[in-house]
């Protein structure tokens, strides 16, 4: 997928003025946050589990090479194949080769963020294969030719009306308007695809070194139909998703559903171990895992190792005021919200995503809900620092900062300027709000700026002391 993170500002402005998007985001906002809070409150051990999850992930990451090798041995022992991909292109080619070898015509897909990351669909379609996303949200955005806007609710930006339009156009009327009818229609259309599929591709929430299994967690059962009915099952996963044992996977499973969708568990947790056995009556004949690095091993070395603990639950974006205002597409690549603002510059380059680390108010809510305690605001601050050091901070911003530093280190000058600014801003305001401010239109185009009281805090303070 082409990266468009450079357009963050333009896309945000667009998003804020998009009435349908704002309607959809408004509906989503409360639900995720409230349900997660309820689940966390109902499990007295929740905070304890977060701490254990953080420590366990850190132990795994410190021995990642060992667990990857053990995992590989176990997959092979179960009759599966492991492929290693340094980058997106290598991963695409591995999967293309498998699909071509089995002469794949129809490929079904369960939700996989890694497959988005490596731009898999485009590559398969380019080679004449039919690619069908089967997660309902993914299916909706595939029809809309859009990327996902959320890592667990990819079509969260779509209203029911928009889904009705898309389904009517794709399936041919009559137009359905009830959620139940829309879901049913997709169910019928996709059934046929599962049974026809040559290859089924899923992600992997966890890879278990103990058993050589991949684990996926879904509510719809689409991932299961995808991997059970296709002749070949391919799992795409980042190298950081390996865990030593089933018991370790359990620690993360207890946190994942609660943090992601605010449920005690998702409906289906599926542990897949190799291809169909000689006496099995169904299941794929081949089982492949593609382990994708794509920048992850580099992250392991430095200040961003913490980011590799991420279990892709989406809680950070659900609690982010910036994500809540602009939605996921503004971020311009695969991963939105706080985790995306860290991952995108690390995977795609600092200058490809300049605005993302800066589109953060450092309010800290993301870190306070992250199930593996990733210090997202600290990582974003670190990225800003790196941007500054690598001299990719925009010139205007640098000049403004330099000017501010010049004034701020000279208290007399600073107070004098403050007094002038307070009076000017107060003078141009109406009822305490400023509707338009030259040079700050990015702010005032979509909301009012509260006007200062006309006098600075220090002036008011000194006045008060004088009255005593």
């Amino acid at each position: 997928m082409e990266i468009r993170s450079k357009e963050f500002k333009e896309r945000s402005v667009f998003a804020i003025h998009d009435a349908s998007l704002q309607q959809a985001l408004g509906k989503a906002r409360g639900g995720f946050v409230g349900k997660r809070a309820q689940q966390a409150a109902e499990l007295p051990e929740f905070e304890q589990l977060r701490e254990e999850a953080k420590n366990t992930k850190n132990e795994i990451l410190a021995n990642l090479d060992h667990y990857l090798e053990r995992y590989e041995q176990a997959v092979v022992a179960a009759g599966g194949h492991v492929h290693w991909a340094r980058d997106a292109e290598e991963a695409r080619n591995i999967i293309l080769d498998i699909c071509k070898r089995v002469d794949a015509k129809t490929i079904t897909k369960g939700k996989s963020m890694v497959s988005e990351e490596i731009g898999l669909n485009e590559a398969l379609i380019e080679h004449g294969m039919e690619v069908v996303e089967t997660d309902l949200g993914e299916y909706i955005i595939q029809l809309a030719h859009e990327p996902p806007s959320h890592i667990i609710a990819p079509a969260v930006h779509k209203t029911k009306d928009q889904v009705s339009d898309l389904f009517e156009a794709a399936h041919g009327g009559p137009r359905k308007t009830e959620v139940a009818d829309l879901v049913n229609e997709a169910r019928q259309v996709l059934r046929d695809k599962y049974f026809r599929a040559d290859v089924g591709i899923t992600g992997g929430n966890f890879l278990v070194a103990e058993t050589g299994s991949s684990i996926i967690v879904t509510n719809e059962g689409n991932g299961d139909l995808t991997q059970t009915l296709a002749k070949v099952h391919i799992v795409t996963s980042g190298i950081e998703r390996v865990v030593p044992t089933l018991d370790d996977a359990t620690l993360f499973l207890r946190l994942l559903a609660r943090s992601a969708t605010g449920q005690e568990t998702e409906t289906y947790t599926t542990i897949s171990t190799g291809p169909r056995h000689a006496d099995d009556l169904d299941g794929p004949q081949e089982y492949h895992v593609v382990l994708v690095d794509n920048g992850r091993s580099k992250m392991l070395g430095g200040r961003f190792r913490d980011m590799l603990r991420c279990i892709r639950c989406g809680a950070c974006m659900n609690h982010c005021p910036v994500y809540g205002a602009v939605g996921g597409h503004a971020y311009g690549w695969v991963y939105p919200g706080p985790m995306g603002s860290v991952l995108t510059p690390l995977i795609k380059g600092l200058d490809a995503a300049y605005d993302l680390p800066n589109a953060c108010t450092l309010n800290g809510r993301c870190a306070s809900v992250c199930p593996v305690k990733i210090p997202l605001p600290d990582l974003l601050r670190e990225l800003r620092h790196m941007q500054h050091q690598q001299d990719i901070t925009p010139v205007m911003q640098k000049r403004a900062l330099n000017l501010w530093r010049f004034a701020a280190t000279r208290p007399k000058l600073y107070h004098a300027l403050e007094q002038v600014a307070a009076r000017v801003l107060s003078g141009i305001s109406r009822k305490g709000r400023i509707r338009r401010l030259p040079l700050a239109s990015a702010w005032t185009d979509s909301r009012d700026l509260p006007a200062p009281a006309g006098r600075t805090f220090l002036e008011l303070w000194q006045g008060k002391r004088g009255q005593k």
Partner: protein, 214 residues
């Protein structure tokens, strides 16, 4: 060496150089392999069967209790008639010796696209979340768990454990090793992908009914 082998070595080397060390030695590896995870298990203070039933029902599943395996066919029959379904089903071969009615048509093979009812054996119930554990095999094809609209699962009450960790112990103890697919199922299929509205029966079964034996 071909490119594939190179990629493997390159990634492992890159991991090691990020960790600022070479490959672990045998002693270090043995220590990691001997590690026994001791994670916190959420406390439970309820009868296992009662908790399993409460949790499973809270996720839109249904449960009925029968006294013995002999009562299972009648329970399936009552369920089938209650839903107005024809006298046929995909039935896991593990259950084929139960006293089924003579006119009940059974498919012990994989479920085809037209299959609307299935009956499967569970190898465990997990009280923690009210979940069923099913293991793929000749007696329990995975398609039975996902293709039909109505899924009836037979679970012996004595197979209900408290936590997931105990269910894994059951898997590890199997003589035939890990099943190809282990399905942990917590109620019917659902989606909330259209405006956060929960809708049952997204792709998998619309209804999951447990017949609890014992």
């Amino acid at each position: 060496m071909n490119a594939r082998v190179n990629a493997r070595e390159a990634i492992l080397n890159s991991v090691r150089s990020a960790l600022k060390r070479g490959p672990l030695d045998d002693t270090q590896r043995a220590a990691l392999d001997a590690r026994i995870p001791q994670h916190t298990r959420p406390a439970q203070d309820e009868d296992l069967v009662a908790r399993f039933m409460r949790k499973f029902e809270s996720r839109a599943g249904t449960v009925e209790r029968v006294t013995g395996f002999d009562a299972v066919p009648a329970a399936v029959e009552a369920y089938r008639l209650g839903k107005g379904l024809p006298a046929r089903a995909a039935v896991g071969a593990a259950l084929k010796d139960l006293p089924w009615p003579a006119d009940f048509e059974m498919n012990h093979g994989a479920a085809g696209i037209a299959e609307i009812l299935s009956v499967s054996p569970a190898i465990a119930g997990i009280a923690e979340t009210g979940s069923l554990m099913l293991a793929a095999g000749p007696g329990s094809p995975t398609t039975h768990n996902f293709v039909p609209d109505d899924h009836v699962v037979v679970l012996e009450a004595s197979r209900i454990v408290g936590h997931f960790e105990e269910a894994w112990t059951i898997l590890r103890a199997r003589a035939e090793g890990m099943p190809r697919a282990t399905n942990i199922i917590s109620g019917p299929s659902r989606t909330a992908d259209v405006e956060q509205t929960i809708q049952l029966g997204a792709h998998g079964p619309r209804r999951v009914h447990v017949i609890l034996v014992g």
